[in-house]
C-alpha cells in the first residue's frame, strides 16, 4: 500500500514538474490575473504551486517517546540539500502559520527524493508539540530551500568526528547516512549525548550501521543512565581524550544544546584547532520576555540598517523618530497600511495586550510596542 501510494506521489511530482513551463507561462498568468495560478492548482492538489516550495507528509513514526519523525515529499521546486543544512518548515496551528527550522536527517542520496525531519516535542515548544500530536500522512506543509552554512564539504574529509546531543543528532545523522551511502573509507566516530538509551533517536539504525562497518565507531554517552551506553556523564576534555585520543586529527561536526556546544568549543579552542570544528546552533524558540513594563533593548530596522534604543513608544513612532518613513495611515490599528514584517523579537499588541514572540510575523506597527530587542524589515 505504502509503496503504491509512494509511486503515485512520485509520479505526481514528476508530472507537476513536466507541467511547470505551461503553468508558469505568461499566458496562464494573464488568464488568472490578478491572482496567482496557484489559487487554481490548489483546487487539484494543495501541494501544487508554480512558485512555492511545499511538501506532503507521507509517513509519520515515533523514534522515541517524545519525538516525531516525518517523511516529507517536497514538490518539484525542491533543489536538494547538503548534509547538515536545515529547512524552514511552516505549519498552520489554529489558523495561524508558524515556521521553525529543522535539519533533514536523511542521506542526500536518498533515492525517492523525500526528506526526513525528526522533531523533539519540547514542553514549551508550541510547534514541536503540535507536530508530535498532529502530524499525519497527507498533510501539506510549507518548506524553504535548504539553508545554513553547516554542511560537510563535497570533498569529504578522511577522518570524521560527528558530535551531537539530543535532537541535535539530525544534521550529523544526515552526514553519517550520506557517508555510508558513499562507501566512505576513512575513520568515522559518532559521538552522541543523550539522557538515556531510550532517548537516542535512530538508536537501532546507529547500532546496525556501526556493526556493519569496521571504520565506524558509535559512542553513545548517557548523562542519566550508567552502565548502558559506551560511556557515562557530561562532556569534558578528559572524557574526550580518553574516548577519542585522535580527535585533533579529525574534521569535527557538532550540533547540540548550548551547554554541550560551549564545552566542546572550549576544548577545541584550547587544543588550538578551532578551524577543524564546524558547528550548528540549534536552540528551541524561547525568547526571554522582560517582565513587567521595563523598557529595554533596541529597535532594529534591518532593511535601513539602523537601530535605536527602545524608548517604549509604538514601533511606527520609533521608526519615524529614527528618521525612517514607513507607510502609515490611521495610527489606531484599523487600516493595516503600516503592516510590516517583524523578523525577530517580541512585541506587545496595544489593542489586545498580547505579547507575541513569533519570528517572521506581519504586525501593525502603529499598535505594537517592542518588548526587549526587536528586529523589523523596515
Amino acid at each position: 500500500m505504502a509503496h503504491a501510494s509512494n509511486r503515485i506521489n512520485h509520479r505526481r511530482v514528476r508530472a507537476q514538474q513536466a507541467l511547470q513551463p505551461v503553468m508558469a507561462s505568461r499566458l496562464l498568468a494573464a488568464l488568472a490575473f490578478p491572482h496567482s495560478i496557484d489559487r487554481y492548482l490548489e483546487l487539484v492538489d494543495p501541494s501544487w504551486s508554480v512558485s512555492d516550495l511545499r511538501g506532503t507528509i507521507t509517513d509519520v513514526r515515533h523514534e522515541t517517546a517524545d519525538t516525531v519523525t516525518m517523511t516529507i515529499r517536497p514538490n518539484h521546486h525542491w533543489q536538494g540539500f547538503r548534509p547538515g543544512q536545515f529547512v524552514q518548515l511552516t505549519v498552520e496551528i489554529d489558523g495561524v502559520r508558524r515556521t521553525r527550522c529543522y535539519s533533514p536527517a536523511n542521506s542526500v542520496h536518498r533515492a525517492d527524493g523525500q526528506i526526513e525531519l525528526t522533531v523533539k516535542a519540547h514542553a514549551w515548544g508550541y510547534v514541536s508539540r503540535h507536530l508530535f500530536a498532529k502530524a499525519r500522512p497527507g498533510m501539506t506543509v510549507g518548506l524553504s530551500q535548504a539553508q545554513g552554512e553547516f554542511w560537510m564539504p563535497s570533498r569529504r574529509p578522511g577522518r570524521v568526528l560527528l558530535v551531537s546531543g539530543g535532537s541535535g543528532i539530525t544534521p550529523v545523522m544526515s552526514m553519517l547516512r550520506t557517508l555510508v551511502d558513499e562507501g566512505h573509507q576513512g575513520q568515522i566516530t559518532f559521538l552522541h549525548y543523550a539522557l538515556s538509551d531510550q532517548d537516542v533517536i535512530y538508536n537501532e539504525e546507529l547500532k546496525q550501521i556501526a556493526d556493519a562497518h569496521d571504520n565506524i565507531d558509535l559512542i553513545r554517552v548517557y548523562t542519566e543512565q550508567a552502565g548502558v551506553g559506551e560511556a557515562f556523564g557530561f562532556f569534558s576534555a578528559d572524557q574526550l581524550h580518553s574516548l577519542i585520543p585522535d580527535f585533533a586529527a579529525a574534521e569535527t561536526f557538532l550540533c547540540g544544546p548550548p551547554g554541550l556546544m560551549e564545552k566542546v568549543v572550549q576544548v577545541w579552542c584550547e587544543a588550538g584547532i578551532p578551524e577543524r570544528l564546524h558547528k550548528e546552533f540549534f536552540t528551541a524558540q524561547s525568547h526571554p520576555v522582560p517582565a513587567g513594563d521595563t523598557v529595554e533593548g533596541d529597535v532594529q530596522f534591518a532593511r535601513s540598517e539602523r537601530f535605536v534604543p527602545n524608548d517604549g513608544r509604538n514601533i511606527l513612532e520609533q521608526a519615524e523618530a529614527a528618521g525612517l518613513q514607513p507607510q502609515s495611515g490611521c495610527r489606531m490599528g484599523i487600516c493595516s497600511t503600516c503592516t510590516c514584517r517583524k523578523v525577530s523579537g517580541a512585541v506587545r499588541n496595544l489593542q489586545t495586550g498580547e505579547i507575541s514572540t513569533e519570528a517572521n510575523e506581519d504586525i501593525r506597527i502603529c499598535v505594537s510596542v517592542p518588548v526587549g530587542t526587536v528586529t523589523l524589515d523596515i
Binding site: 490575473f33 490578478p34 489586545t352 501593525r364
Partner: protein, 361 residues
C-alpha cells in the same frame, strides 16, 4: 431629523468606546482556525464558480450555457471583490500569517489596483468616515450626496452621473485615488499622480486583456459569446457592488460630520461617528455573504479589521449597547434603504438643503 440624534457627554462617550473596545479585544483573542477555514471555503467556492462560469461561456452558443456562465462568473466576481478581496485587503486575515490571505499581497478581480484601494478606502474612508471634505466617499468627487455641498447647475445631472457611476463602477473605483476633481481644480497636478495613473493603467490593462481579449480568443469562433458574457458579468458585479456600497452611508438617517469634529477626537467619539455614519441591510445568510458582509456596515465601520463573517454575531451585542445609550441603529431591507438613497440623489440634484452636518456629539 438631525435633531433626533442623541448627544452623549464626554463620560458617556468614553464608556461607550470602552464597551466597543471590549468587543474587539474579545473577538481578536478568539480568531483562529474557524476564520481561516471560512475564508478559504469562500475562496474555493469563488474559484470553482469562476472556472465553471468561464467554461460554460465557451459553450455560449447554447443559450442556457451562456446564461448559467454569466451567472456563475458574476457570482465569482462579486465574491472575489466583496467577501474575499475587500475583507482580506482590510487586513482581516493578516493574523493568519498566510501570504495568500495577507493584505500586503492580495489584489482583486477588478480594475482598481489593490494598493491604491487600501489607501483611499482603508485609511481615508475608514478613519475619516462621513467627515465632509475629508472622506471622499461622500459623492466620490462626482455626485452631490451632502446637503452642505453648495449646489451648482452641474448637479442637475446628479441622477445621470449616479447611473453612469453604477454602470462603470469598477472604473470609477479605479480612478478614485487619482482625485480627478482636484486635478480639474488644479489642486493636484498630473505630475503628482503619475505613479497612481501608471498603476491604474497596468491593472486595467491586465483586466481588459483577460476579460475582453484572451478568454474570447480562446473560444475561437465563439469569441462574441465570451466577450459579451464577460461584459455582462462585469456589469452585474458593478451594479450589485454599487447598490450595496451606496446603502452603507447614504440612506436616510445616516449622519455626516463637519471637519471640526476631527480636532482632538476621542476614541469614544470615533466609534460614535462610525455608528451614526453607517447603515445596515437586513437579509438572509446568502445575502450577507454576497454583500461581503457590508450589509453589516455599522459593525464593519466599528471593527474594520475583524473578519467580516463575525459581524452578524457581533451585531446583537452592538444593538444592545446602542439601545442602552439611546443611540440609533440604522437598519432596513435593501429595497427601502436603496430607495432612500435614490431619493437623496434626485433631491440633491436640485438646489436647497435639508440635513446639516453634525459638528460635535
Amino acid at each position: 431629523m438631525s435633531n433626533a440624534v442623541p448627544v452623549l457627554n464626554e463620560e458617556q462617550l468614553e464608556s461607550f468606546g470602552k464597551e466597543m473596545d471590549a468587543i474587539r479585544v474579545r473577538v481578536m483573542a478568539d480568531l483562529g482556525d474557524r476564520d481561516v477555514q471560512y475564508i478559504r471555503k469562500v475562496i474555493r467556492a469563488q474559484r470553482a464558480l469562476e472556472v465553471t462560469g468561464r467554461g460554460l461561456l465557451m459553450l455560449g452558443f447554447f443559450p442556457p450555457a451562456w446564461v448559467a456562465g454569466v451567472t456563475a462568473l458574476s457570482a465569482s466576481k462579486i465574491l472575489d471583490n466583496m467577501e474575499i478581496g475587500h475583507n482580506i485587503m482590510h487586513g482581516q486575515y493578516d493574523f493568519a500569517q498566510d501570504p495568500a490571505l495577507s493584505s500586503k499581497n492580495f489584489d482583486w478581480d477588478t480594475a482598481c489596483p489593490g494598493d491604491q484601494w487600501k489607501h483611499s478606502h482603508n485609511y481615508m474612508h475608514h478613519t475619516y468616515t462621513n467627515v465632509q471634505d475629508v472622506d471622499r466617499d461622500i459623492g466620490y468627487g462626482v455626485l452631490r450626496m451632502s446637503d452642505e455641498e453648495p449646489w451648482r447647475p452641474y448637479y442637475l445631472g446628479n441622477p445621470v452621473y449616479a447611473f453612469l457611476l453604477a454602470v462603470f463602477f469598477q472604473y470609477g473605483v479605479a480612478l478614485h485615488d487619482l482625485e480627478t476633481e482636484r486635478l480639474a481644480s488644479g489642486e493636484r497636478t498630473w505630475k503628482d499622480v503619475r505613479h497612481i495613473a501608471k498603476g491604474i493603467w497596468r491593472k486595467t490593462r491586465g483586466q481588459t486583456l483577460k476579460d475582453y481579449v484572451l478568454f474570447p480568443l480562446l473560444a475561437g469562433p465563439f469569441f462574441l459569446y465570451v466577450f459579451t458574457g464577460n461584459l455582462v458579468a462585469n456589469l452585474v458585479r458593478n451594479l450589485w457592488s454599487y447598490t450595496i456600497i451606496f446603502c452603507g452611508h447614504f440612506p436616510d438617517g445616516v449622519q455626516q460630520f463637519h471637519k471640526s469634529v476631527l480636532e482632538n477626537e476621542t476614541r469614544g467619539h470615533w466609534y460614535y461617528r462610525q455608528l451614526l455614519g453607517s447603515a445596515n441591510l437586513t437579509g438572509g445568510k446568502l445575502f450577507h455573504v454576497m454583500s461581503g458582509n457590508l450589509s453589516h456596515q455599522i459593525e464593519h465601520h466599528l471593527f474594520p479589521a475583524l473578519p467580516a463573517h463575525r459581524y452578524a454575531e457581533i451585531s446583537e451585542e452592538v444593538q444592545e449597547i446602542c439601545l442602552r445609550y439611546g443611540l440609533p441603529y440604522n437598519k432596513g431591507p435593501l429595497t427601502r434603504q436603496f430607495g432612500t438613497v435614490v431619493r437623496r440623489i434626485f433631491r440633491l440634484s436640485l438646489p436647497g438643503s435639508g440635513t446639516p452636518a453634525l459638528t460635535a456629539a
